[in-house]
């Protein structure tokens, strides 16, 4: 499995979105790059390695991942990346302990901002982009599909 596939597999569990939904944002590669810039390589390796433990007991593995003092804050940041398109600076203590660069809070890119999952979950769109058209706001949108992540070929 290549790194991107591993990253998306972990992201599926973290975000509750399917492979196809995540790839549809067009932001997967940028997010992986952002991650690699912000945290040490070995940490990225360890985090992506959890992709291989997922089958069958996703939730348990993810709960463990999020609770991990070293990987947990990064995993949470990955969720926020997908939903908001924003990388949040990891706090000072964590960075000192695990030797990460102080990458500031920033919007990853214009595309990342526009493709945040928070907008689709809200049945809305990012302000300033992907507009719905005149008077669409007067109608009730189709409700969000109940989305259990389905298994994909990895």
């Amino acid at each position: 499995m290549d790194r991107l596939k591993e990253f998306v597999a972990v992201s599926e569990r973290l975000t509750g979105h399917r492979h196809i939904e995540l790839m549809g944002t067009g932001s997967a590669e940028e997010y992986l790059q952002t991650l690699r810039r912000a945290v040490p390589e070995d940490l990225v390796e360890d985090l992506l390695a959890t992709a291989h433990d997922l089958d069958g007991h996703e939730d348990a593995v993810t709960v463990e991942l999020l609770a991990d003092p070293r990987l947990g804050p990064v995993a949470k940041n990955i969720i926020v990346l997908w939903y908001c398109g924003t990388w949040h600076q990891l706090n000072d203590d964590w960075r000192q302990t695990y030797g990460a660069d102080p990458v500031d809070t920033h919007v990853v890119s214009a595309n990342a901002y526009l493709s945040g999952l928070q907008w689709t979950v809200a049945r809305a769109h990012a302000p300033g982009g992907n507009m719905q058209g005149f008077a669409a706001w007067a109608d009730r949108p189709a409700p969000e599909a109940e989305a259990e992540p389905e298994r994909t070929n990895r």
Binding site: C84, Y113, A124, G128, M131, A135, A138
Partner: protein
């Protein structure tokens, strides 16, 4: 004496200046416009560059799409966190509003709410015994409201707007039909039902109502909506082929991607370049006055490029300050022109505004459509105004974004609590779709102690002093805040909305305490009162035409001229007054050219 190069010198290329310039040039006059900030691109590509600036900004405040030049600092909403911005805030309360200093001015990021003032707003003094009367009545301004609605391109239906005595000329309707109300507005209107609230001695029915907006909707016959305009190097203007209809981008503030929302650049682009010269990066810094008769002889401005600047003098037959309420006062004070009883800079007002927000019992689907499409106007007027302030509500279409930073903070909040995966997705789908918010904008009265002055200890890069602000929110407004909160609470409980208004999350907002209640308030960008008009030269700075009493060839235009501000957002009234002043000026200069000169006017014709 130097010869005028233009008929009229206008300082400031915001909406007041642009509307003024349009009507003057339409009358055949030649106008020179001095604009402090960088020239905003008039090409479509140039405008779209600002859109990207906004997308990539991590703090998406009102100013985020519009960075200006370091030479012309401007207030920023975020300054309030540490009180370290452009304004030198002297308290006791913080003044919460901002504006922008670049070509196009603050309408580049305004919301577009275009309400007329109520007839009773024009005589607060004689009717309610508070504030003071305007030297104009609603009926004097009505024809100019119509012209301003045409200039700005306002969408509304007269049928919705006849309340509290507002009247319209026979057969008139707005240029475009009303912007459709959002699903959330319709839901709220239903859910509030026939709610009536007691106020003063009355019981007032509450209605969620569409408000007039300077955003393009469906045109009425005979009107062609103006969207994005593309003026390229050859000076030709082409329609940008977008923006003739609002598309629901939900970012009216800070930037409408397609210019379906009015901005002053649209008016500027429509002016014949043969009659208008816009000189950007030209900061007006001094009004030169002939001490013998008070006439203005020229306006000194600083033309900068990088870190250096040169001083030049603009000379016209008439002068118009249209640089915004604060900057108009600043330029006057920098020139030593203080008006009667130091009235220049005094009586600064705003609409201090509270947020109320909550969770609806079912999805209402916010984060779509213009940032708001409806309001509550029922408490803008009434006999209670003799004891406390009036107020109006905006019904937001963007959830809790303004007070809490939603949806981003909704996401981070859930993630911090350990939610992830399908559970997180479900929780967000439930919460984000049910966010309801109201803005409660409260009237403020003129108070001479609330004022702009200069602080020469703090200079900008061109050596100009920063404006200092003394500002106090008085009992009249505070009592209005109490009532506004109560009415919002009554709407929430009738509609089954769970109140989540939590002063803790807006910690950096200024706060004020009143009878044990703490209010977090913010500004609406509605500055007013710094050079108020009146019919007595001893108690006002300008007359009903916005002409300076002391300097008869000088006009100060904009919301600085308002003696009181009622509850309406000021810009439509600013534009209506600008049209009225432009017509006065054009008639006067026309008469001069035709030799029909009255003795009192001749002396001003330099």
């Amino acid at each position: 004496m130097s010869t005028p190069t233009h008929d009229v010198v206008v300082v400031g290329a915001g909406v007041a200046g642009a509307v003024m310039a349009k009507h003057l040039t339409d009358a055949g006059l030649r106008v020179l416009m001095l604009e402090a900030g960088p020239g905003t691109p008039q090409t479509l590509d140039g405008y779209e560059h600002h859109l990207n600036t906004f997308y990539e900004a991590s703090a998406k405040g009102p100013e985020s799409a519009w960075p200006t030049a370091p030479q012309v600092p401007q207030p920023d909403t975020a300054d309030l966190r540490f009180n370290d911005g452009y304004f030198v805030q002297r308290g006791p309360q913080l003044y919460g509003s901002s504006y922008s200093r670049l070509q196009g001015g603050s309408t580049l990021h305004w919301l577009g709410v275009s309400l007329r003032m109520l007839p009773e707003d024009f005589d607060m003094g004689s009717r309610f015994g508070v504030g003071r009367d305007w030297p104009l009545r609603y009926d004097d301004l009505e024809p100019f409201y119509r012209k301003a609605e045409l200039d700005l391109g306002v969408s509304a239906d007269v049928a919705d707007q006849q309340y509290h005595g507002i009247t319209f000329a026979d057969g008139y309707d707005f240029p475009m039909s009303r912007v459709p109300m959002s699903y959330a507005d319709q839901w709220l209107a239903d859910a509030v039902g026939d709610l009536e609230v007691p106020i003063g001695t009355e019981s007032v029915p509450i209605q969620v109502r569409s408000y007039p907006a300077a955003r393009n909707s469906m045109p009425r016959p005979g009107y062609g909506p103006v969207g994005a305009l593309d003026r390229r190097g050859d000076g030709q203007v082409r329609p940008g082929l977008i923006g003739e209809r609002c598309q629901g981008n939900t970012s009216c503030t800070p930037i409408c991607p397609v210019q379906a929302k009015y901005n002053a650049g649209r008016t500027l682009a429509q002016i014949d370049p043969g009659h208008l010269e816009v000189r950007a990066q030209a900061v007006a810094s001094k009004i030169n006055v002939d001490p013998t008769d008070g006439m203005v002889t020229g306006i000194t401005y600083q033309r900068y490029d990088g870190s250096s600047y040169v001083e030049e003098v603009a000379i016209g037959r008439r002068y118009v300050l249209a640089a915004h309420a604060v900057e108009n006062a600043k330029i006057m004070l920098m020139s030593g022109l203080t008006g009667p009883n130091d009235m220049v800079g005094a009586n600064l007002m705003d609409h201090p505004t509270l947020y109320a927000w909550g969770l609806a019992p079912e999805p209402v689907y916010p984060f779509r459509g213009p940032l708001s499409t409806a309001g509550v106007e029922d408490l803008r007027g009434g006999p209670f105004r003799s004891t406390h302030a009036a107020f109006r509500f905006d019904v937001a279409n963007d959830g809790w974004r303004a007070p809490t930073g939603a949806p981003d903070t909704t996401v981070t909040g859930e993630v911090d609590q350990g939610h992830f995966g399908a559970d997180l997705r479900r929780r967000l789908a439930t919460t984000l779709t049910r966010q309801v918010r109201l803005s409660l904008a409260v009237e403020q009265l003129p108070d001479p102690a609330n004022r702009i002055s200069l602080d020469w200890r703090f200079l900008d890069p061109l050596g100009n002093p920063r404006p200092a602000i003394n500002y106090r929110i008085d009992e009249y407004t505070l009592a209005g805040m109490v009532e506004a909160k109560r009415v919002a609470g009554a709407m929430f409980s009738r509609a089954g909305i769970e109140d989540r208004s939590d002063d803790d999350v807006q910690k950096w907002f200024p706060t004020i305490e009143h009878q044990g209640q703490v209010f977090s308030y913010h500004g609406m960008g509605h500055f007013a009162g710094t050079h108020m008009m009146g019919d007595d030269a001893r108690t006002s700075v300008v007359d009903h035409s916005q002409r300076s009493w002391d300097h008869q060839n000088l006009y100060l235009i904009g919301s600085g001229s308002f003696p009181t501000m009622g509850t309406s957002n000021p810009t439509l009234t600013i534009a209506a007054l600008a049209v009225r002043t432009a017509e006065t000026l054009a008639a006067e200069l026309g008469d001069l050219s035709a030799g029909r000169v009255g003795a009192n006017v001749r002396s001003t014709d330099r």
